[in-house]
């Protein structure tokens, strides 16, 4: 009877195969593994970019979550009842007398 081996492409044991006959291209990571790396790296870069943008925005006072925000309200105004007391003082002054006409200067005339 014939024994058939079904080797995995590349033959031999997996380890033996890799060691022995793997070309340079074969030594590259597998496609799935590369995709993960790219995904992870891209995600990290995107995260860093978004994080940087958000940091800049927050530093600039534009918090995207809370918006520009309202100015901080002071403590509630204390209600003070002010009673204005108006005191009126009426002063009556006598109108100054009309200035007396200046006396006529001494006058010399024929007598």
């Amino acid at each position: 009877m014939t024994e058939r081996r079904h080797d995995a492409p590349g033959g031999g044991t997996p380890s033996a195969g890799r060691d022995e006959a793997a070309p340079a291209s074969a030594r590259r990571k597998p496609r799935s593994q590369r995709s993960a790396t790219v995904a992870y790296g891209g995600s990290a870069v995107a995260f860093a970019a978004v994080l940087g943008a958000l940091s800049f925005q927050v530093a600039a006072g534009g918090d995207p979550a809370i918006g520009a925000g309202e100015p901080a309200a002071g403590p509630p105004a204390e209600r003070v009842l002010v009673r204005r007391i108006v005191r009126r003082v009426v002063t009556t002054r006598e109108a100054p007398a009309a200035p007396a006409p200046a006396p006529a200067p001494p006058t010399t005339r024929s007598s």
Binding site: P105, P106, T107, T108, S110, S111
Partner: protein, 322 residues
């Protein structure tokens, strides 16, 4: 400052006094009343009237009457006979026998227009006033019988001087006897601005700044009437003719060391006429008003310099004609 006006001697009197009490003013009025009572020729019972009616050559006279006659003689001497106290007869003959203080009088402009030709007055020949003598020791006045005296030409000046002497303690004083003024101002006090009335318009003709001395005006405007013939007449007679003098001036204002002197100079200036009046008024000066209404400032008044001023007058307060 007290300012009192009242009537005496047939004209308006005014006392402007600073530093004089009521008693002083009362005394001044009493003195003026006494002068009027004793020296008025319109009062038959006055001492002057009794002297004129006395047939004796030498007549006892009170100190006041002797002072009044003495002042009249002094004025005659000072004016070389132009202010003559012996013209009473001529004055009455031309219609001035009673007081003219009240009653209508013709307008001066009309009188000037109807007046005869202008001519300067001259002293009376013989100067009868020189025959009058006063003996203060004996208390008498001697004059030829029948020579009547009129002290009216100098009495107001004498009265102003007498009142000023009575109130000599005043800080500032003006004694105004019917337009004849005596001014007295203590050193450091402000002098008085004395207005000169224009005889034709009644407006102010000029302003003189006076600190002490006398200011008097002689003019035709106040004692003016028509004689029996209807001709205009006034009380300033030409001694040489015994008739009213028409010299070309209607008023003359003089400044003197006393009111008596100012009064004598003013009369003499008016009687002499425009040409000689400037010389009569002399260095002290005064104001001349021509019968055409023209006003001329003479002497210090013309130079804008005040008369008898204690302190120099501020700039811009010169004598002005208006």
């Amino acid at each position: 400052m007290q300012d009192v006006t009242f009537t005496c001697m047939g004209c308006e009197m005014r006392l402007i006094a600073d530093g004089v009490g009521d008693a002083g003013l009362r005394g001044a009025r009493e003195l003026l009343d006494a002068i009027d009572a004793r020296l008025s020729r319109f009062r038959p019972d006055s001492e002057l009237s009794r002297l004129n009616a006395d047939p004796r050559t030498t007549v006892p006279a009170s100190p006041l009457l002797r002072a009044a006659v003495g002042a009249a003689l002094w004025a005659a001497e000072r004016t070389r006979g132009l202010v003559d106290p012996t013209l009473l007869g001529d004055l009455e003959r031309h219609g001035y026998a009673a007081s003219l203080a009240a009653g209508p009088r013709p307008a001066l402009a009309d009188a000037v227009a109807a007046a005869p030709a202008r001519a300067p007055a001259r002293p009376r020949p013989g100067a009868p006033w020189r025959a009058v003598a006063i003996d203060n020791a004996a208390g008498t006045i001697t004059r030829p019988p029948g020579l009547r005296l009129d002290t009216g030409g100098t009495t107001k000046g004498l009265a102003a001087d007498a009142v000023a002497q009575l109130l000599a303690g005043a800080r500032r004083l003006v004694v105004d006897c019917g337009g004849d003024l005596r001014v007295l101002v203590a050193p450091g006090a402000a002098p008085f601005d004395v207005a000169v009335e224009h005889p034709l318009s009644g407006e102010r003709a000029a302003m003189l700044r006076v600190a002490r001395g006398g200011v008097a005006t002689s003019g035709l405007g106040r004692r003016l009437w028509r004689d029996a013939a209807g001709r205009p007449a006034h009380h300033l007679l030409d001694p040489s003719t015994g008739a009213p003098a028409w010299s070309g001036l209607v008023a003359a204002t003089a400044v003197g060391s006393t009111t008596l002197e100012a009064e004598a100079l003013a009369k003499a200036a008016l009687l002499r006429g425009p040409l000689a009046a400037r010389r009569v008024l002399g260095r002290r000066g005064g104001v001349l008003v021509g019968d055409d209404g023209s006003v001329e400032l003479v002497g210090r008044a013309a130079a804008g310099r005040p008369s008898h001023v204690v302190k120099p007058a501020p700039a811009g307060q010169r004598a002005v004609a208006s």
